[in-house]
């Protein structure tokens, strides 16, 4: 059975990201809901003769505005992700894509206690590729790293262009040195890599995974 990168399997990746985003938005709504309820409580108390505390009201107002900003950020990420399927082949900035995938994975990585940290990059590093498939293979790399790394680990990520390929380098992965029977890259990664003209290189002792992407997909 082959991994259907753009059909069912691609939809599963898309669905997983959207479900995660919906959970994040629910959490924001829960905070806004409770703070709105607290305002309601203060109004009821004031009607019964309890004096309103302006400092408390300011604090609640600030929290609600912070949550609105937070929701806006979440929805911006969702929008960018949604638009990644607008065009089959497009020239994109790999650094931008990597930063988006780190944001989309934040909820998953927080749950396992692993942090992803982008190195400093000054100029865009562009390739012509299928944005959705690239996001999918990056997600698989992050997902597998989260399974392998230990809670408390910070995995660093650097995007480079060596003139021939664009590289995404993940390093500081503590669980790689003990990886013997772990199936990565599996069939699904192999099929995506083939579609992207890419390859994965794993250095177990160095705790490093490198994703090579050929920059000139036509």
């Amino acid at each position: 059975m082959s991994y259907d990168v753009t059909g069912e399997a691609g939809l599963q990746f898309f669905g997983k990201m959207i479900a995660s985003i919906s959970h994040e938005i629910k959490n924001v709504l829960a905070v806004i809901n409770e703070n709105a309820g607290l305002l309601e409580d203060f109004i009821l108390m004031e009607e019964k003769g309890v004096t309103l505390n302006p400092e408390k009201l300011k604090k609640i107002s600030k929290k609600v505005m912070e949550q609105v900003k937070r929701a806006d950020g979440i929805i911006q990420n969702m929008n960018r992700f949604g638009h990644s399927v607008d065009e089959t082949v497009k020239t994109i900035d790999v650094i931008d894509t990597m930063e988006l995938m780190i944001k989309l994975s934040a909820r998953f990585s927080e749950r396992v206690g692993v942090s992803f940290k982008m190195g400093s990059h000054f100029d865009p590093i562009k390739i012509t590729t299928t944005p959705f498939l690239l996001q999918n293979v990056i997600w698989f790399c992050l997902d597998n790293i989260m399974n392998l790394a230990k809670s408390g680990d910070t995995v660093s990520i650097v995007v480079e262009n060596n003139g021939c390929d664009v590289l995404i380098r993940f390093f500081g992965i503590s669980g790689l040195d003990g990886m013997i029977n772990y199936d990565f890259p599996a069939e699904r990664e192999a099929i995506l890599l083939e579609a992207l003209s890419g390859k994965l290189q794993i250095d177990n002792s160095a705790g490093e995974i490198v994703l090579y992407l050929n920059g000139n997909k036509n």
Binding site: H23, K26, N27, V31, D41, M45, R111, G113, S151
Partner: protein
Amino acid sequence: MGEKILLVDDEKDFIEALGERMENRGMNVSTTTSAKDAIKMVEEETYDAIVLDLQMPEMDGIEALKAIKKINPDMQVILLTGHATVEKGIEAMKLGAMDLIEKPADIEAITEKIKKAQANKIILVEKKTEEKIRKIITSKGW
């Protein structure tokens, strides 16, 4: 006397506001953003009910529920989730949760479930007391 509640959720702004609303309604509320800290608190204190988020970093709600039930099998735990499905509900009940509520939650619904939790706890305490008395009577041959 107000119900004694432990609120557990990694969203600090959420449990601060919910905790204050519960206290406005006469409940005695403790809060924590860490499931691991919640387990330590359950070892040291008794609560009428625990309101526990399903998805938290370090330890999720299901793992926390199992650990809490190991310490106190009679503890009444209400799970909070962003997406309540029938499957999740069944899994939670099988593990001993009292109920499952979807966020954002209505304070009246939460309050009602907490009152139910306190009533459940009273019934369980009474049953245990009856059992103790019966054992004493039987052993003394009265």
